[in-house]
C-alpha cells in the first residue's frame, strides 16, 4: 500500500474509537528515564502508565514521541499469536486523581490520556537482572524479530521471575522507530534494517539457526497491512501526532517488514 492510500485509510479509521479505560488508582513507580506510574484502572486491571508530562517526552515537545511509539508498537505486538508484548491501552487520568499525587520531584502527572502497558505479575525486567538463560530459543527469536522490525532502541524485555523462561515479552518501546525523538528524514528515506539484539543474547549460539526464525518471519510477513495500519489510528489528539505524520510512520513500518529477514540472517551467517 502506498502513502496516499495509507493516509486515506487512516483518516477513515479515525472515526473508530480505540479501547480506552480510566485510572482509578495512581502510585508513583519510578525507575527508568520516564518516571512511570502504577495504575489500577476502572476495568480492574493494573497498568504501568506513562503520562503526557513524562520526563522523556518533555525534552523534545509535541508530538509526544514516547507515548505515541509505545502505543503503536504495543498494538503491533498484539498482532502476533501469542502476542510478543503485554496488552496496551489508552488510560485516561481524571483531573482529581492527577492533582492528588506527586512524584519525588513534587510534580503532578498530567491529567488526560496516558499510555498504559498491562502489568505482568511474576516477571522481572531483563534490565533489572531477569535471567534469560532458560528462555526457549523460539520465544527469543520472536522478540528479536519484533524488536528488529520496529528498530528497537534502549531495548528491554520481561522474563519469568522464577528463571524458568516460560514468559518472555518485549517492553518499553518508547525509543523504537526513530530513537528518543522523531527524525522525519528517516521516515522518508530508503529503509535500512539492522539486527536488534538484547545484550544478553549477544554471541548466543542457540540463536544461530535459521529454522528458529522461520515461523515468526512467516508470521510477520503474513500480518495484514490493514491490521498494521490500524495500530496507527486513534492516537489521542492531545499527543499531537497528525494523521499525515502517522501515515508516514505506518509507511515506514510497512516497508521495513520485508527487510527483517535479511537483518536477522546475520545471526546464522556469522556476521553479527
Amino acid at each position: 500500500m502506498e502513502l496516499p492510500q495509507i493516509m486515506t485509510l487512516l483518516t477513515q479509521l479515525e472515526a473508530d474509537n480505540p479501547p480506552r479505560t480510566q485510572a482509578a488508582l495512581l502510585q508513583y513507580r519510578g525507575g527508568g528515564g520516564c518516571g512511570a506510574w502504577d495504575c489500577k484502572a476502572v476495568n480492574g486491571l493494573w497498568y504501568v502508565i506513562k503520562c503526557q508530562n513524562n520526563r522523556q517526552d518533555r525534552t523534545y515537545g509535541l508530538p509526544w514521541k514516547v507515548l505515541t511509539t509505545e502505543l503503536i508498537c504495543g498494538r503491533l505486538g498484539q498482532l502476533f499469536v501469542p502476542p510478543v508484548c503485554p496488552p496496551v491501552c489508552i488510560v485516561d487520568i481524571p483531573d482529581e486523581l492527577a492533582s492528588a499525587v506527586i512524584d519525588p520531584n513534587g510534580e503532578h502527572p498530567s491529567a488526560g490520556p496516558s499510555f498504559g502497558s498491562q502489568r505482568v505479575d511474576g516477571a522481572i525486567e531483563t534490565k533489572a537482572g531477569g535471567n534469560i538463560n532458560l528462555v526457549p530459543p523460539k520465544q527469543a527469536a520472536r522478540v528479536v524479530v519484533f524488536q528488529t522490525w520496529l528498530q528497537g532502541q534502549d531495548i528491554a524485555a520481561l522474563v519469568s521471575h522464577d528463571g524458568s523462561g516460560t514468559m518472555f515479552l518485549s517492553i518499553d518501546h518508547g525509543y523504537y522507530l526513530t530513537g528518543p525523538q522523531w527524525i522525519e528524514s528517516l521516515l522518508t528515506a530508503e529503509p535500512s534494517v539492522s539486527l536488534v539484539l538484547l545484550p544478553q543474547f549477544q554471541g548466543q549460539v542457540k540463536l544461530e539457526d535459521s529454522q528458529l526464525f522461520q515461523g515468526i518471519l512467516d508470521e510477520l510477513t503474513s500480518l495484514s497491512e490493514i491490521d498494521i495500519i490500524k495500530a496507527f489510528a486513534g492516537i489521542p489528539q492531545e499527543w499531537g501526532a497528525s494523521v499525515d505524520f502517522r501515515a508516514k510512520l505506518a509507511n515506514f513500518v510497512l516497508k521495513r517488514r520485508n527487510l527483517v529477514e535479511q537483518a536477522v540472517s546475520t545471526l546464522w551467517r556469522g556476521v553479527a
Binding site: 495512581l26 508513583y28 503485554p86 482529581e96 486523581l97 492528588a100 499525587v101
Partner: protein
C-alpha cells in the same frame, strides 16, 4: 469526574535491615478526608518474625507509637482505627520521617470506596503477595462441590474421588467419577495457577490421550474443570494447548468457577433421568 471519593493510601513496610533495604509489606493505611474515613489493616506475620519474639513485640510497639491502636496481641490479622482527620499530609509525614525498621510508602491516590480500597490493598499487597500464583482449586474442592449437589438428592455416594476405570488390561485413574455402578461422567481438574505448569500440561495431555479409549469403553461423558492462569505469557499458551487437546477428543471444558453450576446441572439431569427410568 468520577463519583468515587478521593482516597490516599500508604503501604506499611517492615525493613529488617535498612542498609540492605529489603522491605516486606505488613500493612496498609487508607484515609479518605471527604468521607471522614481512616483505616488500617496489618498482617504482622508477613514480617517473618516469630510472634513470641521480642522483635515482634517491638514491631507492635513501633506501630502503636504511630498512633495506631492495635486491638489484641499476637493476632495474625489486625484491624486498627486510624484517626479519620488524617489527610495525605499525615501520610507524607510518615513517609518522610519513618526511615528505619517501619517505613511508609509515598502516599498514592485512588478514586474508590475507602473500606473497599483498604480490603483490596490488603489482599493484593499484603496478604497474597507470596501466594499470588497459588491456587485453591483442586480435586478435593471439586469433589466437595459435587457431593453437595448430589447430597440434595441423597445420592452422595454417586460422587467418587480417584475413580478407576478399567480398559482391557489397563487401569486409569481420574479425579472424579459420577455414577451408580454405571459411570456417567469422568472429571479431571487442572489449575494453571500451580507452580509446576509442566506437570499440569502433561496431566492435561494425558487426559486427552486416554479419553477416546475410556469413552468408548464406558460411554461416559468427559469433563475438564480448569482454572485458567492469571499471568500473561507461557502459562496462557499451555492453557490454550490443553483446552484445545481436550476439546478435540470430545471432552467438555469448563472454567473452575463454573464448578457449582456444572455440578448442580449434572445432579439434576442424572437424577431426573434415573427417576424417569424407574417410573
Amino acid at each position: 469526574m468520577s463519583n468515587q471519593p478521593l482516597c490516599f493510601f500508604s503501604i506499611v513496610r517492615y525493613v529488617a535491615d535498612p542498609i540492605r533495604d529489603e522491605p516486606k509489606n505488613i500493612g496498609a493505611l487508607v484515609v479518605c478526608p471527604e468521607r471522614r474515613f481512616g483505616g488500617a489493616r496489618f498482617l504482622l506475620s508477613r514480617s517473618g518474625i516469630a510472634p513470641s519474639s521480642s522483635r515482634y513485640d517491638m514491631l507492635q510497639d513501633l506501630i502503636r507509637s504511630y498512633q495506631i491502636d492495635l486491638p489484641g496481641y499476637n493476632q495474625l490479622s489486625l484491624f486498627a482505627p486510624v484517626p479519620f482527620k488524617w489527610t495525605r499530609v499525615e501520610l507524607e509525614e510518615l513517609h518522610r520521617e519513618c526511615t528505619n525498621l517501619i517505613q511508609f510508602t509515598e502516599p498514592a491516590a485512588a478514586l474508590a470506596e475507602p473500606s473497599r480500597l483498604l480490603d483490596e490493598l490488603y489482599h493484593e499487597r499484603i496478604q497474597t503477595r507470596e501466594s499470588s500464583t497459588r491456587t485453591n482449586f483442586s480435586r478435593r474442592v471439586a469433589a466437595r462441590v459435587f457431593r453437595r449437589a448430589f447430597h440434595r438428592y441423597d445420592r452422595i455416594d454417586w460422587v467418587q474421588e480417584d475413580t478407576r476405570v478399567q480398559v482391557k488390561s489397563d487401569t486409569y485413574h481420574f479425579d472424579l467419577g459420577i455414577g451408580n455402578g454405571q459411570l456417567y461422567y469422568v472429571i479431571e481438574t487442572l489449575s494453571f495457577r500451580n507452580v509446576d505448569l509442566q506437570r499440569v500440561e502433561q496431566a492435561g495431555g494425558w487426559y486427552a490421550y486416554v479419553w477416546p479409549k475410556v469413552a468408548q469403553e464406558t460411554g461416559a461423558e468427559g469433563l475438564l474443570l480448569v482454572e485458567p492462569p492469571k499471568d500473561i505469557g507461557g502459562a496462557q499458551d499451555r492453557f490454550r494447548r490443553v483446552t484445545d487437546w481436550a476439546s478435540e477428543v470430545g471432552i467438555t471444558v469448563h472454567d473452575a468457577n463454573e464448578t457449582n453450576q456444572v455440578a448442580e446441572k449434572i445432579a439434576d439431569e442424572l437424577l431426573q433421568k434415573i427417576s424417569y427410568l424407574h417410573q
